[in-house]
Structure formats: C-alpha cells, structure tokens
C-alpha cells in the first residue's frame, strides 16, 4: 500500500470517528432539549482540535515509518486521482447543502440547516479520501 493511500485511510478513519463523536454529542443535546440543539461552540472547537491533533499524529507516524515516500512528490497518476476525488467530493457537498436548503423552508429550523451543512462538509471530506483510495486502487 502506497504512502498516499495509507494517509488517505488514516484521514478517512479520523474524520469518520470525529464526525460520529460530534453528531453523537449533538444528538444527545437535542434529545435533552426536546428540539434541534443549536451549534455548541465547545463541541465545534473540540471537533476541530481533535481532527487536527489526530491528523498530525497519524501523518507523523506514517512519515516516520516511510520517510522517503513521505517526502516524495505526488506522481502524475496520484495527482489525477486527487483531482478527480476533489471534483466528485464537491458534488457530495453541493448535494448536502441543497438538501439542507430544501429542508429549511419546510421546517424553518436554522439549527438543523447548520447541522446539515456541517455534516455535508464532513461527508464530502470523507468521500474525497474514500474516492482517492478507490482511484489509487483501480487506477481509473
């Protein structure tokens, strides 16, 4: 498995765990409130800090395991795979935001619109890394 694929797996796992942790907190707060919880700053900040620290640790460990591969620039095939993955993940984000925009006029719940937008960002990032892995493996 190439260094870039290992990095993509690590990032996908970190983002998935971070996203599940964040939305579990939001769900618990919403149940306690009896309505959609507003965005809670400490959770948002904790999520971002968690993702940043976990990414730095994972990349450092992977980089120490294979320093040459970590310093090598992406080759043409990897650049194409990254570009295509970025392109398609944009559709995931766009679709999520449009779902949120269609949901809002029906329920007039701004907090839900925020959470749908935030979830779309998370999902598009996870999809980007997943698609990178797919393209690295299939070479398409």
């Amino acid at each position: 498995m190439s260094f870039r694929e290992q990095s993509a797996w690590a990032m996908m796992a970190i983002l998935t765990v971070g996203g599940l942790w964040y939305f579990n907190k939001v769900r618990a707060a919403s149940v306690a409130l009896g309505e959609t919880a507003p965005p809670i700053m400490p959770f948002v900040i904790a999520y971002i800090v968690l993702i940043v620290i976990a990414s730095i640790v994972a990349m450092s460990v992977l980089g120490m395991a294979s320093p040459e591969a970590a310093n090598a620039p992406a080759d043409e095939r990897e650049r194409q795979a990254d570009s295509r993955a970025g392109d398609l993940s944009g559709y995931v984000l766009g679709a999520g935001v449009i779902i949120g925009l269609l949901h809002y006029p029906l329920h007039m719940d701004g907090n839900m619109l925020y959470h749908i937008g935030f979830a779309s960002l998370m999902l598009s990032q996870i999809a980007e890394y997943g698609l990178r892995i797919w393209y690295y493996r299939t070479g398409s």
């Binding site: 507003p38 970025g86 944009g90 984000l93 766009g94 809002y104 701004g110 619109l113 925020y114 937008g117």
Partner: protein, 144 residues
C-alpha cells in the same frame, strides 16, 4: 473560442444574472418587511427555473450557431483536453464551494439567524457555480 468555452461563459453569466435577480428580490422584500425576508419557496423555485432555462437556452442556441458555422469536429464533442480542463476546474471549484459553505456556517455561530444562513448558503452556491464556469473559460485560454 470553442463551443464549450462559449457555453461555460454564457452559463457563468446566466448564474450571475439569476443570482443577482434572486438577491435583488430578497433585498426588496427585506426592505419592505423591515427585517431579513424569510426564504420563499416560489422565489427559490423561480431562481432555479430561470437558471436552468438561461443555461439550457444558451447551450442550445450556441449549439445551433456552431452547427451552422463549424466544419470541424462534431458540435459538443468532448476531447481529452476538455476532460483535463473539466477535471482541473471542478477540483478548484470544490475548494470555492467548501469556502462558500464554511463562511456562512461560521457566521451563523454569531448571528444565529436561520434565514440569513439560508440566503448566505445560496450566495455560496451561486459563487461556486459562477467560479466553476469562469474557471473553465480561464483554463480553456491556457495552454493545456
């Protein structure tokens, strides 16, 4: 200028025209109400219909004009260079779209208005769509 380049230029302009129209109406409604106008299904649907109609009609008219004047490849053919340009443009657009979503979400933490979040997300989408079209035009004019 190729068929696709003209098409993207026309679509980019259509996105800007429809987006400006949408925000002009929201602005007028907000002034009349004395506060930010809530999202309106009719206005949102009208915006989508106008956007699709303008971009669809522009591609249709351009296709007809090219078919009459061009002796080269079939109109609408998508070659290797078109594919590369599309990939590069869409990849850069995803960053603009992410920014267009991040900024309204962070802003929402301060103002807590769902209506403002709704309108600012539409603004982000309009910006990303227009950027995508103009990036295509920009990349077509570069030597790939």
């Amino acid at each position: 200028m190729s068929f696709w380049e003209k098409g993207y230029l026309a679509t980019g302009l259509a996105v800007l025209v429809a987006g400006s129209g949408y925000f002009a109406i929201v602005w007028k409604q907000s002034l009349a109400l004395g506060s930010l106008a809530p999202p309106n299904w009719i206005l949102f649907s009208a915006y989508l219909v106008v956007l699709m109609a303008l971009s669809g009609v522009s591609f249709l008219l351009l296709g007809r004009a090219e078919a009459r004047s061009d002796d080269g490849p079939e109109v609408g053919d998508f070659d290797e260079r078109d594919r590369l340009i599309r990939m590069k443009s869409l990849s850069a657009t995803s960053h603009v779209l992410s920014l267009g979503v991040y900024v309204p979400l962070v802003w929402f933490l301060f103002h807590q208005s769902g209506d403002l979040l709704f309108h600012s997300l539409i603004g982000g989408l309009v910006l990303a769509e227009a950027t995508m079209c103009f990036l295509h035009v920009f990349n077509y004019n570069r030597a790939y």
